[in-house]
Amino acid sequence: MNSGIVDLISFDQGFAWRHWAVWYFLLVGSAAGASLIAFIATLRDEDAPQVRPALFAAAAAGIAAPFPLLADLHQPARFMHFYLSAATDSIMWWGAWFLPAFVAGLAVLVILYSPFGRRFMAFRTYAWYWTAAFAIAVLAYTAGEMTVVRARPVWHDALFPILLTLSSFVSGAGIVAIVATARGENPGIAPRVLGIGSLLFVVGVVAWITAGWGNGGAFTELAIRYNPVSLLLVMTGVCGIGGAVVTLAMPRAAIFNILAGALAVVGALIFRWQLFMGGQAQPKTETGFLPYSLFANSDALAGLIGTVGLLAVIVAVLSFILIHKDEGGEDHTASHTAL
C-alpha cells in the first residue's frame, strides 16, 4: 500500500459484538460437534459406551451456550422480541429458534439417559434425530449469519464457514475426549475426529492465507499486518498441529487425550477470537485497524471467569444426573470418575 493518503480526522465505531460472542460461538459449536459425534455412536447402539460421555460434553457446552449469547445482547431483557417477530429474511432470527430446539433436545436426552428417563427409552431415537438435525441447523446458522455479511470481507469468504464449522467439530471432539478420559470411559471416534480435523483445519488456514496473498485478501491482511491476530494465528497453528500430532502419532493414553482435547478447545477459542474481534477491527471505510486490545482486556477476563464458572456449575449438575446407580444396585458408572 502506497497511496500517500493520511487520515487527519477519522472515527472509530465501537465493536458491536463483544467477547461474549466468542464464548457463545465456541460453546454452541463445540456442543453441536460433540452431539453429532454422540449421534454417530448411537447409530450402532444407543447404549454404546462412548455415547454417554459425548452426550455429557455436548449437554454441558450446549446448556451453557445461551448465557453468553444473552450477555452479548445490549438489551438482553428484550430477547422475547425474537419470538414475537417474523423476520424470516434474517438468519439470526432462524437461529433464535434453532438454538432452543437444539438445547431442548440435549436436555431431553440428558433426562432420557438419567434414572428418571428409563421408562421413556423408546423416545431416545427420536430425541437423537431431533438433536442431530438441530445441531446441523445450529452449525449452518452460526456460520451462515456471519458469511452473509458482505461488509465484513473476512467473514464474507467461502473458506470462512468451512473452517468455522470444521473447528466446531474439532473442539467438539476435544470436549468429548476430555470428558470421556476424565470419566474413564471410551472416547470413541473423538480422538480420530480431533486428529484428522485438526490436520485439515491447519491446512485450511494455510490455504486461506495463501489464497489471499498478493490480492488483498482480508484474512491474509489481518493475519499478516495486524499484530495481535498474527500472534493468535501462530497459537492456533500450534494448537492445531499439536492436536493432530498428539492424537495421530502418540500412543493412546489418558494424558494425551486430555492434552489433545485441551489443544483443540483452546485452538478453536483463539481462532474465533481472531476472526470475530480481528474482523471487527477492520474499519469499513478505511484500511488499517481499529485500536483494540486483544489481550489486556479486563472485560474479556471477566467473561472467561464467568463462562468457566457457569460451565463448572452445569458440569456438577450433569454429573449428578448422568452418573448414577440403579435402584437394583447395578452401577452404570462403576468405572467412572466424576469430573
Binding site: I5, V6, I9, Q13, F79, S90, A151, L290
Partner: protein, 243 residues
Amino acid sequence: MKTRREILSLSAVAALGLAIQPGSAASAQPQTPPSGYTPRWGMAIDLRKCIGCQACTVSCAMENGVPTGAHRTVVSTYEVPTDNGPGQAVLPRLCNHCENPACISVCPVDATYQQTDGTVVIDAEQCVGCGYCVQACPYDARFINKETGIADKCTFCVQRVGAGLLPACVETCVGGARVFGDLKAKDSQVALLIQNHKVDVLRPEMGTRPQVYYIGLDGRLQDRVEAEFGARQLRDQNPQQEG
C-alpha cells in the same frame, strides 16, 4: 433624509427579501406534499463547497443527543497527494438511506425498517441491541448507542423533516454543501443537482444503492480509503489519550 420609521421599514423589506432569496436554506425546505404523494428523501453533498468545519457533526450530535465518542455523521478529513503537493480532501459520512439497505434484511426482530419516504429508521422499542445491523452496514454508519443499548444511526432527522424542517446537518452547513430534498420531484434542488452534475455514491459495489450522492468525490475516497499513518494509528499508539 429618511426618518427612523422609513429606515426600519426598508430593513424589514430587505430581511424578507433575503429570506425568500432563491437557493437559500429556506427555499430548500421540504414542501408539504399534496395529499397521497410520498416523497423520496435523499441528499446531495457538493464536496466543492464543504470546508470540513464539522458544524454538521456538532449540530447532529446536539439535535439527536448522540453520546460522546459516537457519530451519526462526521466529516472524514484526509491529506491526499496532488500534483501540487499534499492537499486536503473531506468526505462527510452518514447513513446512505439505501434503496436496498443491507441492514434491514439481517435484523432478527424487524426493528429496523424503511419508511415509504425511503428513510431507514430504527424502532427503539423493538431493537434488542444484537448489533447485527451494525456489522451489515458497509458504511460504518451504525453503532450501538452506549446509553440506550440499541442500534443508532442518522435518520435524516426524521423528527425535524416531519415538522417541515431540514435535517440539522443541512441547516447548519456553512458552505451549503449538503442539500436535502425529494429525489422524486424533478424540480427539487437536490434532484436538479444530481441531474446536472456528475455524482457518485460510496461503495457502489456493495449493491445497496445509496441515496446520498456526492458531487466532486475523489475516486480514492469512494471505496475503503487506503489510509497510511494518520490519526487512527496515533490513537492506537496512545490509547490513554482516548476519551
